[in-house]
């Protein structure tokens, strides 16, 4: 019996934007199924470009992206991926409930299943009081919850969270962490990008450091500290990002 394919496998991925900027250059990455994986790097390092390539949101220049062994652009692979983007991108015409149900519909859920799951997500993310509120009228925290609920709506096997706690208060951050951990315990593979190093250290089993579109290190938090002879992940980050290329 052949081993299970990785949840995410990226081979030789290059993305050159129309203005000539190379965001990723021959990038390789494999994330085993069930891992909680962190991706750290400064702004412009290529994290969001990588995520966009996995989710079919950019035209890749070269390379290959597979999700659970399937090309990322095939329909099956797309159903396996859930994305919470860094920016709040909610449909302004829909209510909280509709946002979730329509997302479920786009991802092939039946109406009954989508409705039931939407209400499950509404309870989990404490959105019950806002069910019929249109998204522009939600507070920042509520929008962030809804964004996460939407990403998880279709029960993806690989959840990609692009700075999910950016601009979120301490209480909500703790709450989101609890839910993300629970999700991981249930077997979901998670790819997290964040600028909060303690978040990566607390949550992630493995961390990759990325700079200038290239992977510069990958290990557990402890392994990275040892490798860079650092006391904390913050020190690792400073040393890794400050090192000559």
């Amino acid at each position: 019996m052949s081993p299970a394919p990785p949840a995410l496998e990226v081979k030789g991925l290059t993305k050159r934007y129309d203005d000539g900027t190379v965001a990723l250059s021959e990038f390789d990455l494999a994330i085993p199924e069930g891992k909680f994986f962190g991706l750290l790097g400064p702004n412009g390092a290529g994290k969001t470009t990588l995520i966009s390539a996995v989710c079919n949101l950019i035209r890749i220049t070269e390379g290959e992206v597979c999700v659970f062994g399937q090309p990322a652009d095939c329909l099956q692979a797309r159903r396996w991926v859930g994305l919470a983007e860094q920016d709040i991108n909610l449909d302004r015409f829909l209510t909280v409930e509709e946002t979730l149900i329509y997302h479920g519909g786009y991802f092939g859920m039946s109406k009954d299943d989508a409705c039931a799951r939407a209400h499950e997500m509404i309870d989990v993310f404490d959105l019950r009081g806002k069910v019929d509120v249109r998204t522009p009228k939600l507070s920042g925290g509520m929008r962030r919850r809804l964004l996460l609920a939407r990403a998880l709506m279709h029960r993806p096997r690989l959840v990609i969270l692009d700075e999910p706690t950016a601009g979120v208060d301490f209480e909500l951050r703790q709450e989101l962490w609890r839910y993300i951990r629970k999700l991981h315990e249930q077997g979901t593979t998670i790819l997290l990008t964040t600028h909060y190093l303690e978040e990566a250290e607390t949550l992630c089993e493995e961390i990759a450091l990325i700079r200038g579109g290239r992977l510069i290190a990958r290990d557990t938090s402890g392994g990275l500290r040892e490798r860079y002879n650092a006391d904390s992940l913050a020190d690792v980050y400073v040393k890794a990002m400050g090192a000559p290329r």
Partner: protein, 257 residues
């Protein structure tokens, strides 16, 4: 899980596009019906005393097909251009682009929204104008393809503009500076045979002239040009326009960085 075709997702996208119309129905459907209805009342009944007939058709009936066409094509265009532009601008189009749908299903899903809105307006306006003016529907077998090709053309055009537009002004610019003048100069209120040269000849290069005449033939059984030429020109523009919007979804050009 395997063998999923994306059809369910496309149907939800169509549902979303029509939900948007129904939520804003006073703006999206009622307002165009009222304004076109006023055109029929003001022009049809006030000018009917001065212009009794054109090509043997009472003037108040003569303007009905053109006004219905004008309301429908503007709705098909503006619905899609604003919906797609807003989805791009607020980036919630990513929810569709990342979903398990084929490019043709996304294109069709967005385009159906404009067609549905235009049909709601056309049917509503027809339900008022036909009994009020007594305009007949003589050639439904011409009317149906004429309307269909016209709506495909303008909904696809709206989708294309929605994809290319960088600001909301671009969407209104095309509507106000291109579509509206072409519609007005396309023989909505007059027969091209009444125009002197060179306006008579110039009107024949206006594509909307052919659409208006195809729809007019469907209603009244009269047209300034061959109905087959009108249908051919309209279809000849609708098909490439639809293929262009399809290409944008397939290639990801302007939709994906």
């Amino acid at each position: 899980m395997h063998g999923y075709s994306g059809t369910a997702g496309m149907l939800w996208l169509i549902r979303r596009e029509t939900l948007r119309i129904s939520k804003l129905w006073t703006q999206t459907v009622l307002a165009p019906i009222v304004s076109s209805g006023l055109f029929i009342l003001v022009f049809g009944f006030s000018l009917a005393n001065r212009i009794r007939e054109i090509d043997g058709v009472p003037y108040k009936q003569f303007i009905v097909p053109g006004l219905i066409t004008m309301a429908m094509v503007q709705a098909a265009y503006s619905n899609n251009s604003s919906s797609v532009f807003q989805a791009r601008s607020d980036r919630y189009i990513n929810d569709v682009l990342s979903s398990p749908m084929h490019a043709w299903q996304m294109n069709l899903g967005f385009n159906v929204g404009g067609i549905a809105r235009a049909l709601a307006i056309g049917i509503g306006l027809g339900a008022i104008a036909v009994p009020v003016t007594g305009a007949p529907v003589r050639e439904p077998l011409v009317l149906i393809p004429a309307v269909l090709f016209g709506l495909v053309l303008f909904s696809a055009l709206g989708t294309i503009v929605g994809i290319f537009a960088e600001t909301f002004d671009h969407h209104t610019f095309v509507n106000n500076i291109v579509i509206l003048p072409l519609v007005f100069l396309g023989g909505v209120f007059y027969s091209v045979n009444l125009l002197p040269s060179p306006w008579h000849e110039l009107t024949h290069v206006n594509p909307i002239f052919y659409l208006v005449n195809a729809v007019r033939y469907g209603f009244l059984g009269t047209s300034d040009v061959s109905v087959w030429l009108s249908l051919a020109v309209t279809a000849g523009l609708a098909i490439p326009a639809y293929l262009w919007s399809q290409w944008l979804f397939t290639s990801g050009r302007k939709l994906k960085a």
